[in-house]
Symmetry: C2
Subunit: 136 residues, 2 copies
Amino acid sequence: MKGQPKGATIGGLAVAAGVNVETVRFYQRKGLMREPERGYGSIRRYGEADLARLRFIRSAQRLGFSLDEIGELLKLEDGTRCDEARTLAERKLVDVRQKLIDLQRIELSLTQLIDHCVASGGEVACPMIASLQEAT
Amino acid sequence: MKGQPKGATIGGLAVAAGVNVETVRFYQRKGLMREPERGYGSIRRYGEADLARLRFIRSAQRLGFSLDEIGELLKLEDGTRCDEARTLAERKLVDVRQKLIDLQRIELSLTQLIDHCVASGGEVACPMIASLQEAT
DNA sequence: CTTACATCCGTACTTGAGTACGGAGTCAAG
DNA sequence: CTTGACTCCGTACTCAAGTACGGATGTAAG
């Protein structure tokens, strides 16, 4: 009933997610990733869930969330009490929606710049900054 | 023809943008903000454009852009040669669109969590991680 | 059984993004 | 014309997020 090794080693996990082994261990110390039990005296094994979690962390980071904030998002995944989760989710949602607005504005600026570039021949300027002015 | 002082001092600028004076100076050193000429022997003055630029930098940071990337975005604002600008804009656009997709997925997860929370009474878990799984 | 390579773990180093500090210069009010 | 607050500038410190190092242990292949 014990069969062959169940999952990837930390090295395999790290490669699969495109991060450094040390980074995984760092996230474990921060409490963002679990440390699987090591079946007697041995080496830890990681599964799909660990990989997904690790990838989530990296994606969320690219979106400008700090590791502490990501920890909060992961608390939602991990199941907290309902009212608590809801409050947290609502706070995060406000933040996320503001980011969406800003990103959409930047997207628009960039597409317009590209269009103008195609249309004109020479110098162009992009109202990049104006794109984020408060639109009232 | 020289009138009264033209704009805000660095302190005023910093307060208006909600950042530290030192931060402004730091951005100047990095080349993200200009250092206005100081009319004979005196103190620098900043205008609306400087404030907008500073605010843009902070917003872009919240979206997960590094200061180096923000420098690139600002090159577009500042007007580069057309083909160069276009190439850069196209690269950034890919990045921005991926961020939009990820953020939209997170937004959906959060709203669903909130809905479930309202509907059920007790424990809830949020498929936060699943929300960013590659959907193909 | 040895040997090569990975894990484990603690500690130390690095990098990006600021923050803090301190002395010298500036400027407006009293 | 002094005084208090602010600017200027260089240098040094801090904090988050890793990265690197190195000795001890585990483990699979020859």
